[in-house]
């Protein structure tokens, strides 16, 4: 079926299978592979996007049901030449190892700091509890969120 999506401020069209998830539409049909596909059951957070500013797992959103909503993916947060402060902080803190989970963490951290500029460690851990990282042990990710908070709001 033909669907019309508003992604990162642009009107896009795609031909998708009726049961296709938003994640599949983004990656396979719209050339936006930043959102990662790992568990397809909402457990890992690597496909996190913002839909009408709400943090969601795009694997659990039916692509056809995303029509009429504003979708923002990790691709919209920063550019190679001008990283978002959250992305910069992840690089500076060494919070990226294999990098697979990173886009999801970036989007979830962005959503956290938007709503809570100076989160406590407990608040950071709770806000990122839907994102799994199998490399870092999370310590440097939490440090990166703290750095981003200082950078964005001091």
């Amino acid at each position: 079926m033909r669907i019309h999506l508003t992604v990162n401020g642009l009107e896009r069209e795609a031909d998708v299978w009726e049961g296709s998830s938003l994640l599949t539409a983004l990656r396979e049909d719209l050339g936006l592979p930043g959102s990662k596909n790992a568990c397809e059951q909402g457990e890992c957070g690597s496909c996190s996007v913002l839909l009408d500013d709400q943090l969601l797992c795009s694997c659990l959103v039916l692509a056809a049901a995303a029509e009429g909503h504003r979708i923002r993916t990790v691709e919209d947060l920063g550019k190679d030449e001008r990283l978002h402060p959250v992305q910069r902080a992840f690089v500076d803190a060494g919070a990226v190892q294999c990098g697979f989970c990173t886009p999801g963490f970036i989007v979830a951290s962005y959503a956290l700091l938007r709503d809570n500029p100076e989160p406590s460690e407990a608040e950071i851990r709770e806000a990122l509890s839907g994102n799994l990282c199998r490399c870092t042990g999370y310590g440097k990710i939490i440090e990166a969120v703290r750095r981003a908070s200082r950078e964005m709001y001091r």
């Binding site: 049961g19 909402g42 957070g45 797992c57 039916l62 056809a64 049901a65």
Partner: protein, 284 residues
């Protein structure tokens, strides 16, 4: 697969009347997983998630929570007579899941591990169902009939859950392998409705449906009869232990991938004691 995206509840009911038994898509946290893994290929799928008519949340007098209310919205509510609701909502999945998952979805799926269900059972909630034939209101105890089975007819949509405000003496506890992103190994909701001299305990993930622990409820009511319904309850160790035993005895648990029946009974006893101690001191 045919996707219907009605703009109103009436439109959704018409679509469902035309295709009884069609799958309803709310937050997607259950159904999308089934579709992603190829375990389900609905012929007809009706998207009900954006319907404004399902999003009401009213706490003036009787409480009404629309089927489309997410766990994030429940968390944003004040505590008091919503304390257990908030505690429950906070244990659901992760921020991403709480932004998507809805009370109506929990009712539709009717998993014994559905986090909202022990709360609805302990609150004596009514499930409101709508079809083109009209509205039906069913007590939760009659609504859920087995694991993933309920009294919803193929042409009905769950539109809301309603309950009478039971006052602030209430709590919800859940045990899993970690704090976040976990399906309950066992859960429990305890309500002491002082105004009606009623104690209600409901157990999740411990039987084919949500179970009420009737003997434990009567035991606690007798305890409070003695100490006074307007007074804080000072729970003795012996009384707390007995309450825990009675709650554990009401369970009908099985061994499965998440835990053994024996562990479930043990942990229910622990949760019941803690819940009674926590709630006993709360006086409106």
């Amino acid at each position: 697969m045919e996707i219907e995206r009605p703009r109103s509840l009436d439109g959704a009911l018409a679509a469902l009347a035309a295709h009884p038994g069609a799958d309803l898509l709310a937050g997607g946290t259950d159904l999308m997983v089934e579709i992603n893994f190829g375990r389900k290929r609905p012929e007809h799928l009706i998207v009900v998630q954006p319907l404004a008519e399902l999003r009401d949340l009213d706490r003036n007098g009787a409480v009404r929570v629309g089927a489309g209310v997410t766990y994030t919205r429940l968390l944003a509510e004040g505590g008091g007579s919503f304390a257990a609701v908030r505690e429950m909502a906070r244990t659901v999945g992760s921020p991403q899941i709480r932004n998507a998952g809805t009370v109506g979805g929990n009712l539709g799926t009717s998993s014994p591990a559905g986090d909202a269900l022990p709360v609805l059972a302990a609150f004596d909630a009514t499930v409101v169902l709508r079809s083109r034939r009209g509205e039906r209101r069913i007590p939760f105890a009659d609504y859920m009939t087995g694991p993933k089975r309920n009294a919803r007819a193929p042409d009905e949509i769950v539109v809301a859950a309603e309950w009478r405000d039971p006052g602030p003496a209430q709590t919800f506890l859940k045990v899993g392998t970690r704090n976040a992103m976990v399906i309950a190994v066992a859960s429990l909701c305890l309500v002491v409705e002082r105004a009606r001299k009623s104690v209600r305990v409901a157990l999740g993930s411990c039987g084919p449906t949500i179970l009420r622990a009737g003997e434990a409820e009567r035991f606690a009511e007798e305890l409070i009869d003695e100490s006074g319904w307007d007074e804080p309850l000072d729970v003795s160790e012996a009384a707390a232990a007995r309450f825990g035993e009675l709650v554990a005895a009401a369970a009908r648990p099985i061994d499965d991938v998440r835990g053994s029946a024996r562990y479930r009974r043990h942990v229910l006893g622990v949760m019941a004691r803690r819940a009674l101690e926590r709630v006993g001191s709360v006086v409106a």
